[in-house]
Amino acid sequence: MESFGSFRRKFAPWNDPAAKPYITFEKVTKIFGDFTAVDDLSLDVFNREFFALLGASGCGKTTLMRMLAGFEEPTSGRILLDGQDLRGIPPYRRPVNMMFQSYALFPHMTVEGNIAFGLKQDGMAKSEIDARVGEMLKLVKLEKFAKRKPHQLSGGQRQRVALARAVAKRPKVLLLDEPLGALDKKLREETQFELMDLQVKLGLTFMVVTHDQEEAMTMADRIAVMDHGRIMQVATPAEVYEAPASKFVADFIGNVNILDGTVEKVANGEAEITAAAQGLTIRAETGKALAPGQKVWFAVRPEKIRINREKPQDASFNAVEGELWDIAYFGDMTVFHVRLDNGTLIKAASLNAVRKTENPLTYDERVWVSFDTDAGLVLTA
């Protein structure tokens, strides 16, 4: 079986049956009026994990996070943190801190005041507070801005104050609600790595809610893909991308070509699928138990499809001819939209590894798209 491990070497407690989960959602349901925000959801998150809840708006990810923070109580089910049932514990007594999407910095307090706020609430000694605030300011590189008020800071600086304030109390879990949503692209990329760095440095468990898959893929050890209050898949970013559990996940994460088909033959772990509407036969390696006649989907990522003027020599490849319909140039790569003779559009991406191409592909050319038998995935759900 192929493996798509965590990139943090050796950190994979979810594969260790003896590992005790740090946060457990146990059959949690949350209903608002007649709207079910979270639907019978169970999830384990481990200590020191960087965990991402990914989904479109309204999928229940924020509600799930707010239940952990204590702003909402589950309608049924329970949430355990480090073995403790959180039911009935108000937000101000939970060892969990949150970085709000709007940052929610107190406008009438200085940067220092904001960071010290939580510590003062705990009745920490003044000298200790000062030391901790200094440490936090250093951590987020805002020493020079200690006396400023939030409105005198840039968006990126505010984000860092919010972060410092949320980690100052050394919570057991740091919740981050769309932490990079308000930053521009360049700053977002830098901050992603800063966050990851910080998480390892502080040794905290991070739980981030985001609708930005790139953000989730870059930062998280594991991602939970959510839809309609349910978890569709929990896996490492590589697994979610390369081995999506369902058509929904395959479609939600990244770019993908999905073809409807019917299983023709199954032999030696290889299925022959007729993509019904397309009049196309695909051979695909699969570990799944399939039966002839079964309706399936075949999913293949654009970057795993090759595009050539000539038919590929390797007979084991799936190959089909079409017309080059559209070209989307991204600089680092180009995505070609090939229109098969039956009208189906197939996306194929190719890396622009050289600066100059003698004879580039152009619109309306006849081309062959081809992919290996293990390039795609047969999905039954």
Binding site: N97, M98, F100, H151
Partner: protein, 303 residues
């Protein structure tokens, strides 16, 4: 050419508010000020005119020398006046505090009410303005008098045996002012609370503040500009209030507005009553300037 027109048009726009101030504030003020420097006379109008353009410059220059601040000295001489100022200040201050105490929870409740309900609540606060102020104050007489609604109710409920004597006391004046000026306190506080980001409260709770502490450390400080605005909007008109102390207050209720009125209409001493008015204005300018400063600061803070 077009630029010139635009420039002139721009100036004109600024001129409008200045004209407004000039016509409706400065000119009346100078007329009152002029009267305050003149002498009483049995005439129509009942004072000796200070200036008369028909007399020529020399004659008016002589009159300028005759101007006296005798009326102002008179105000200092007679304890009635400074007592009235002090009493007005006291009544206005107490009423302002009482209004604040009632308006703050009211505004907080409104700001925390469901979004769909807020316009209705706001409407209810403004609704009394649809009836004449005078009629509403008269209505309080019917409520507060010894055989009035309040006493009838309290006796019916066996809370009291003999009617409370509220009408024609300072208490009635407080009730009247609090009732009449409540919307002026509610609206600025509500608008300050309403625009507050609720996630600030959640953040405070998340960082370990129980709800009450979160209120004192976050909600209240952020609503202070609204509180200051409301206090001035109540205090300034309450200080010069005439109708409420006249209708609800008793003989011992001393307020400068009432003094001014009786000076003007009963004694027909326009110069002295003008001096009373000018002094009242000077006294009120101090809080108004403070109010302006507070507003400017709030705006600078960008919140």
């Amino acid at each position: 050419m077009q630029k010139l027109i635009a420039a002139i048009a721009g100036r004109l726009v600024i001129i409008v508010p200045y004209l407004w101030l000039l016509i409706l504030f400065l000119i009346p003020f100078f007329i009152v000020f002029k009267i305050s420097l003149s002498q009483t006379a049995i005439a129509i109008p009942p004072y000796t005119p200070v200036f008369n353009l028909a007399d020529g410059i020399a004659a008016n220059w002589d009159k300028l020398k005759e101007l006296s601040f005798a009326n102002y000295l008179w105000l200092l001489d007679d304890p009635l006046y400074y007592k009235a100022y002090l009493s007005s200040f006291f009544i206005a201050a107490v009423s302002t505090v009482l209004t604040l105490l009632i308006a703050y929870p009211l505004s907080l409740g409104m700001a925390r009410a469901p979004l769909t309900l807020r316009p209705t609540l706001l409407m209810l606060v403004i609704l009394p303005f649809w009836t004449s102020f005078l009629i509403r104050v008269y209505a309080w007489i019917a409520i507060l008098k010894p055989e009035g609604l309040l006493n009838q109710f309290l006796m019916w409920a066996h809370v009291i045996d003999t009617p409370l004597n509220i009408l024609n006391t300072n208490t009635a004046v407080f009730i009247g002012i609090v009732y009449s000026y409540l919307p002026f306190m509610v609206l600025p506080i509500y608008s300050a609370l309403e625009k507050m980001d609720h996630s600030l409260i959640e953040a405070a709770q998340d960082l370990g503040s129980p709800p009450f502490a979160a209120f004192w450390k976050i909600t209240f400080p952020l609503s202070i500009p609204g509180v200051i605005a409301g206090c001035f909007l109540v205090f300034i008109p309450a200080m010069g209030e005439f109708v409420i102390p006249d209708l609800l207050g008793g003989s011992q209720t001393l307020m400068i507005g009432k003094t001014l009125w009786s000076e003007f209409f009963s004694n027909r001493d326009w110069p002295v009553s003008s001096a009373v008015a000018v002094v009242l204005l000077v006294i009120l300018i101090v809080p108004i300037v403070l109010f302006q400063r507070a507003q400017a600061r709030a705006q600078e803070e960008g919140r």
